[in-house]
Symmetry: C2
Subunit: 400 residues, 2 copies
Amino acid sequence: MKYIDGGITSPKGFKAAGVASGIRKKGRKDVALVYSEQPAQAAAVYTLNKFQAAPLQVTKEHLKDGIAQAIVVNSGVANACMGQQGLMSAKEMAQITADCLLIKAEDVVVASTGVIGVPLPMELITKGIKDASKALSYDGGADAAEAIMTTDLVKKEVACQLEIGGKTVTIGAMAKGSGMIHPNMATMLGFITTDASIESDCLQHVLKKATDASFNMVSVDGDTSTNDMVAILANGLAENPKITMESEYLKDFEAAVTEVCIRLAKMIAQDGEGATKLIEVEVVGAKSLEDARKGARAICSSNLVKAAIFGEDANWGRIVTAMGYSGAEVDPSIVDVYIGELLVAEKGTGLKFDEEKASQILKQKEIKLKVDLNLGSEEATAWGCDLSYDYVKINADYRS
Amino acid sequence: MKYIDGGITSPKGFKAAGVASGIRKKGRKDVALVYSEQPAQAAAVYTLNKFQAAPLQVTKEHLKDGIAQAIVVNSGVANACMGQQGLMSAKEMAQITADCLLIKAEDVVVASTGVIGVPLPMELITKGIKDASKALSYDGGADAAEAIMTTDLVKKEVACQLEIGGKTVTIGAMAKGSGMIHPNMATMLGFITTDASIESDCLQHVLKKATDASFNMVSVDGDTSTNDMVAILANGLAENPKITMESEYLKDFEAAVTEVCIRLAKMIAQDGEGATKLIEVEVVGAKSLEDARKGARAICSSNLVKAAIFGEDANWGRIVTAMGYSGAEVDPSIVDVYIGELLVAEKGTGLKFDEEKASQILKQKEIKLKVDLNLGSEEATAWGCDLSYDYVKINADYRS
């Protein structure tokens, strides 16, 4: 598997566009459209928040048959907590898209991100979708990636290729999400396209595995958005031997999708609101994968760890503290803690470490923390960012 | 039940002292001692963090018989993550205290709060305990309350009296904890004294109930310290009819202890690191008490809610979002949300509310948020504070 330049329009048969409809200020792009020339196998995973926004409800309904041909996304307004009106608007977004593209409304994935509790400006959205459908192109991926941004500072695109049964399969993806802890105008959205030929249930399986190891490991301090969604479309145009649950190619494909998702997840962490550093937390030696994940996520999400990293303070006690309340099985008397390569606590007890060296490590832009539980062989990695003054600033007065 | 001026030395037969031993800088008090003239029934609750600091382990052991006569606390060093050395030091603290007071080491409650992973300076502590034992007095409560502070800006004391069977029972208490999210030099500690006569198992029951409704409802963003502890000593000198599980007086006594704990909990929230506002979150209409508590705590702990309150932004979408991921049973289509008295969302849908009025409410120093789940009759209240620039500042470089 090798990375290539590109994004969601890199795989065969995908077009995209991103346009400014006027929902967001200053002429910023706010409507994205992705179109597959051929109906694609489709799968998605959704936020676990009990307040699921209207577009998620509509998308779930549309993906019941595992087929989709287009994705429509708007930024600026989340279309969440709008009751029946919200559902109507989400359905309308799908219908307008379908009309423009001459496909079925049931084959449209709908997503929104923005302020909660405000009605979608349907006139602007309608115009935006129409404009986007006219602007669709084989190199429109970057525009689409730009149109789904909110507080993101950089657009997030990835593409890669791998060989499956002698055929070149391409995977493209884009995401938005500016940090772990997301405001209502936040949300983590991910969209993956591929020309791989793959069975529907197998695609769902791959997406679930990939998101669990990537997007779900981006440090969320609990503020799981109402609108989070990751969707994948596979149109089969690569003409590889169809990937099934029994297929010898499944492992490679799954690894490639996972890699792509991890790369996007890291981009999201790095672009965290107010972030100055990327934090990567590895928990190894866990009894179960779930334990390793719980621990890595807890450390990555701890305000105290995040603030210490911002302050370049080798305060490993906070790492241990987060590990201790993560819910993972831990034996405090055998835990080792590393900051970068530096062992700072051994068997649960603080060492006299080289503060100078710790300080050098913490001056870097990417900080690696590692906890070895010494209990088993499972491990997991989570990504996050530091907690800075700017995080507070960005979130203190978001709506205005 | 009525509040009186005072603290842990208000009940009969309790003396206390707080002295500066030199552990902390600038001559700040750092060793606190509380002594009951007569062995007291004792109970305690401890942090759920798997890394329990040495003093907690020693206290647990000492309270197995439900009896204690003194409490010794130091601030500045947490004595956590120090392995065998830490256990030895905690035991030594108890022994020195016992020697000074001519009581059994097993009757001493030991607590520490401060930096993790640093050895206790036993020479200073020894001197501190000796000085404190000489300084013990019937009005030393305030000094003790001062000596357990770390980043706290104000000392936290409460006392109250109630009639039980014709006798006046006094309850005194002190706490430390400067905010919800505690650094390693943080920790929430609470100590309650009373001259009530009460059975040991009944005392444990009362303390558990009281802490669940108070200290455990102070918004902790998950950063549960390794050293959190709340202990209560009841020496019986009020000579009231002994309170038992069957006693008609149990309810009144439990209510009084709970009130005292809630008052301290609110003081802790108000004194949160960098806090500019106290947030009180009420979740009503829940199916279960646990659901109500989960929801109230999630909202109070949300960085996004906290940052919005700091910014005086009526961003109710964040309240709904936190409710949605809290794990509580929620039907999004029937939830009502209030900011102060102002209904901002009804049946899960945003209302066009008076922004001017919302702004006035959010300018106050105490902000009440309410969510009515409309599912049942259980309710709970949680307390927290806003997330400010100063929180980041305080926690970015704590050790230095």
